[in-house]
Symmetry: C2
Subunit: 300 residues, 2 copies
């Protein structure tokens, strides 16, 4: 039974970093998140692909035991993203985005997904996020993400999503842009005012911070000597976070803090390879090892 | 008796941030560090000022019980720095630097400082840092800092300093520039290869990381809602770090981790006001409160 429902983009990525170049590789926010979540819980993915979507990409997700019934195959081409990173690997330069079948996508949640208690509204049009939410029966926890594109084009809808979720997640630049402040604490307080219980702000290689009305928590980024490709790090963080919470079942601050550490861990393992390729080398043992290390690197 | 000797610049700063403007305020790397250190240990400051240096600035340092015998008063004008921060407060834009009396400064360590066991070679010409080190009798712990200006103009000397110290401290941009790598882990490894026992890299609002041959530690930046002026944050971090170590007396990784947390705390308190002004509101109680909070915000 699907425990975590994840909606977002499914795509074909062309990525160039100083360490390599790959074309037509499996990508998209929902894909990274679903793979990351699958290390902890049974996850189902909701998205759309075109006729050109290779079977081997579906096979890869199947090997991760991701439920694929939520993937719609439509006439036309799959969403593609072409991006490039410079030497500092900090910011992706988007060279080309082709929405293709994503353009008029209307997510239809499979019957057997609707009872799932954990929902991740990954980076996709906020109207689609809202449509997914309406189709869910009674989720226990809804997590959301977004990106600058939607903040600029559909700010009101992005805010509506934030209002409806339990944990609003976004990265530092997005939080600053959405609430028109340079200060992350101020941005987090705005999120909480919109009635999210938890505001989590991702800071890329610098980790993430979480705020509630009464407390806050900081998880550092895992210092990596060999980052190959940061694509999907934020989505992996989110996927592992919700996957872990679904496994623990109880939603409280202590579990959310642990979930953020697992998010950082899975993201740090993911970026050690190009695209999704490094996920093949991620397993429970490696995750546990790095969890122990996180305990050590944050102890004083 | 002076326990910590701190060398660096003593100056008059003109600072402009979106939140205020001050002119001729007490500044300089040694000043911020010595005040921060003075919360933990008896600290002596080594530097030079001109005839124009106002008595009230000396009075302020005296109130902090900083030993001022290492301050030389010379004919001429005091070093001045004029800088500006934009809304994101992340990087200072240097508008003007006048070395003045600092130009031909030759530090002479007072007799009673030479037995001190803790030395901080703050940001100043690396040749002066080396000269200070030679005058010290048998320091137990030497900490160093630097800045891009010296890396660009006297790289070999900067590396010589790093070779001679126990803890090499620098910020992320400096570490990247000094070792010509974008990767901080690689830069830290280069520092350790030069025979420093500990490499500490400051990351501004994102905290700091420490590396030894076998382990690493990450302290987050304290999330602040009201940063007024980041000037001196890195120097305050360093000062509190060495001041705390001098108080604890024993140098081991556990104490260095704690010292980094105290460094983050004092820096976070300092930046809540313009220039050094907020130091007047910093006391043991506030430091202890924030230490308890750091325990909480890093716990999972």
């Amino acid at each position: 039974m699907v425990e975590v429902v994840i909606v977002g983009s499914i795509g074909l990525d062309n990525i160039e970093t100083p360490f390599g170049k790959i074309r037509g590789t499996l990508g998209g926010s929902a894909v990274y998140s679903a793979i990351a979540s699958s290390f902890f819980s049974k996850s189902g993915i909701v998205g759309v692909v075109g006729r050109d979507f290779p079977q081997r990409h579906l096979d890869l997700m199947q090997r991760k035991e991701i439920d694929l019934n939520g993937i719609e195959k439509k006439e036309g081409k799959t969403f593609t993203w072409t991006g490039k990173y410079d030497f500092d690997l900090n910011t992706a330069q988007t060279l080309e985005t082709n929405l293709n079948v994503l353009e008029d996508f209307e997510p239809k949640i499979p019957e057997e997904y609707r009872k799932a208690e954990y929902v991740f509204l990954g980076n996709i049009d906020p109207e689609l996020q809202l449509s997914v939410l309406e189709q869910m029966e009674k989720p226990k926890l809804v997590l959301s993400d977004t990106m600058n594109y939607w903040i600029e084009s559909k700010r009101t809808k992005v805010l509506e999503v934030v209002k409806k979720v339990d944990i609003a997640l976004m990265n530092d630049a997005e939080a600053r842009e959405l609430f028109k402040t340079t200060n992350l604490v101020k941005a987090a307080k705005e999120i909480l005012k919109l009635d999210s219980d938890y505001a989590i702000i991702k800071k890329g290689e610098h980790g993430a911070v979480m705020f509630t009305e009464e407390s806050h928590f900081s998880v550092p980024g895992y210092p990596l000597e060999d980052i190959k490709d940061p694509t999907g790090a934020g989505d992996s963080f989110a996927g592992a976070l919700i996957g872990f919470l679904a496994k623990e079942k109880e939603i409280n601050e202590s579990n959310i803090r642990k979930a953020m550490v697992y998010g950082s861990i899975v993201a740090s393992l993911e970026v050690e390879g190009m695209g999704v390729t490094n996920f093949d080398f991620v397993n429970q043992f490696k995750i546990k090892e790095r969890f122990k290390e996180f305990k050590k690197i944050m102890q004083f």
